[in-house]
Amino acid sequence: MRRAGPLPWLKPGVFVGALVPLAAILFRAWRGELGANPIAQALNQLGLIALVFLVAALACTPLKTSFGWTWPIRLRRMLGLFGFSYALLHVSTYAALDQVLDWHAIWEDVTRRKFILVGFTAFVLLVPLAATSTRGALKRLGYARWKRLHRLAYVAPALGVMHFTWRVKKDMTEPAAYALVLGGLLLLRAGVYLRSRPSAPLQPE
């Protein structure tokens, strides 16, 4: 019998947990418990969960470098793909339910509203990442190119936070919390990057 790797419960556990928000939204929609404006409610919640996953995916490497934990790395791809999936559901809800596939209105929104343009860009950036998330794609691209492409994983959630901030009418507490976590993660990465760079040779004065 094939012996399972270490922590065999980890990935399935996170996978099932990650489906809970979707299940909750569908269940509440079916029971009519999404409130008076169910489309807006589902739209906001799907977008928020997408952002949570994208930020969580970025936390994996810092957790390894800071604490030496390796298990988060094994979740990274799955977290990123969940981020993409929830973003896809968010965008589909907007296009199909909120705008009822009124392409003219959608085009106007994307081109004229800063916050929608930024959110849409974040989503578009996630598409090549999701498409090249397989081992095969990594091999085909070569590690260096794959890694360069996947730096977009930093850009997308940053745009996501911007999209969230511009959407909110006044109370910035929640977007600010995400901006803070994301900013912290980016700083950690920048620190590691700067330390790993060979320093310039000292010049005699």
Binding site: G13, V14, G17, A36, Q99, A105, E108, R113, K169, K170
Partner: protein
């Protein structure tokens, strides 16, 4: 020694390896359950904006005072044949930032507001300034039901049967002076009753204002109820402004002060974001909010968005108030 009769035969004893695997399986199953529950509930908590689920006991409305019926003398419908938004939606989905910024916060957290006893101070440029008890005020005017559209600046809308009286009737009674050009309104300032006033989301107290001719217009009313019942706390008990041709945020809630002035008074959302919210805030599909379109709206309860009408469909009655004004500039 012989085998005891109750001992299981050797063939039924679980091999050691399998026994250990079973324990491992149980352990993994427990850890799997804990992980999925932990991840799932964390996500649900984040989905609620990082807040606890409101306790049913904290929810306002639907109980004591708000069930009280009001005696209605006259009925007027200003919505053609549009369906009324259900009472449940009107009282569970709205903005009242003094209770929180989520649209379910007012219904969930407005028990702390005490709408009785309540006094309203009327002063400024009037000949008969006074401090009146809300019940006395209610006795001054016959109550009317007015079915109005309400268009929120966030591009959703409702149709609400308000109960109240024309603001103009009250103003006439206190006799504005010739210098009275504007009417300013102030919400209660009391963090005990309006807990989110402890957080500086907006400049408290909430203030709003109308030009005197807008205030005297027969469509502008002070509401004390909806659906024939006393106004629930979350909708601005005991007294709120309703100006159906303007965005919802002009409809200031839980009013304690009405002050007539010569100069244009400050208004809360205009102070908070002057390029996004003007003094007039007339519903206008041609002038977008800087961040979103105002061309369409979602009527609560409907699936498809519907076009937004100039002055929220009341252009025939109110457009003349703004004759000659550039509504792009005075948004």
């Amino acid at each position: 020694m012989g085998r005891l009769a109750n001992d299981p035969p050797a063939s039924e004893i679980t091999p050691e390896g399998l026994y250990m695997r079973r324990r491992e399986f149980m352990r993994n199953a427990a850890l799997f359950t804990a992980t999925s529950t932990g991840v799932g509930s964390t996500l649900l908590w984040l989905m609620r904006g990082g807040r606890a689920e409101p306790k049913p006991s904290e929810r306002a409305g639907g109980s004591d005072a708000s069930e009280q019926q009001l005696a209605i003398a006259r009925r007027g419908r200003y919505t053609a044949d549009e369906l009324l938004t259900p009472y449940r939606d009107v009282t569970s989905y709205n903005n009242f930032y003094e209770f929180g910024t989520d649209k379910s916060d007012p219904a969930n957290h407005s028990r702390s507001l005490r709408p009785r006893p309540w006094t309203v101070t009327i002063g400024g440029e009037v000949h008969r300034p006074q401090v009146i008890d809300i019940d006395q005020l209610l006795g001054w005017f016959p109550l009317e039901e007015r079915v109005y559209r309400l268009r929120c600046v966030e591009a959703w809308s409702m149709v609400i049967p308000w109960v109240g009286f024309p603001l103009g009737d009250l103003l006439e009674r206190v006799e504005p002076t010739s210098r009275a050009k504007y009417v300013a309104f102030t919400t209660l300032l009391d963090a005990e009753q309006l807990p989110e006033q402890r957080r500086h989301v907006l400049d408290w107290p909430y203030v709003e204002a109308l030009r005197i001719d807008e205030a005297m217009h027969p469509l502008a009313i002070l509401a004390v109820g909806l659906y024939g019942k006393v106004l629930p706390n979350q909708n601005g008990a005991p007294l709120r402004l309703v100006v159906p041709w303007k965005y919802g945020f002009k409809g200031i809630k839980s009013i304690v002060k009405i002050h007539l002035t010569e100069e244009q008074p400050p208004t809360t959302w205009n102070l908070a974001a002057p390029h996004e919210y003007g003094f007039y805030a007339n519903v206008n599909p041609a002038v977008d909010h800087p961040r979103w379109s105002q061309a369409t709206e979602r009527r609560i309860g409907e699936f498809r968005r519907r076009p937004t009408l100039p002055f929220n469909g009341y252009a025939e009655q109110v457009a003349e108030l703004y004759a000659g004004m550039d509504l792009r500039r005075f948004f």
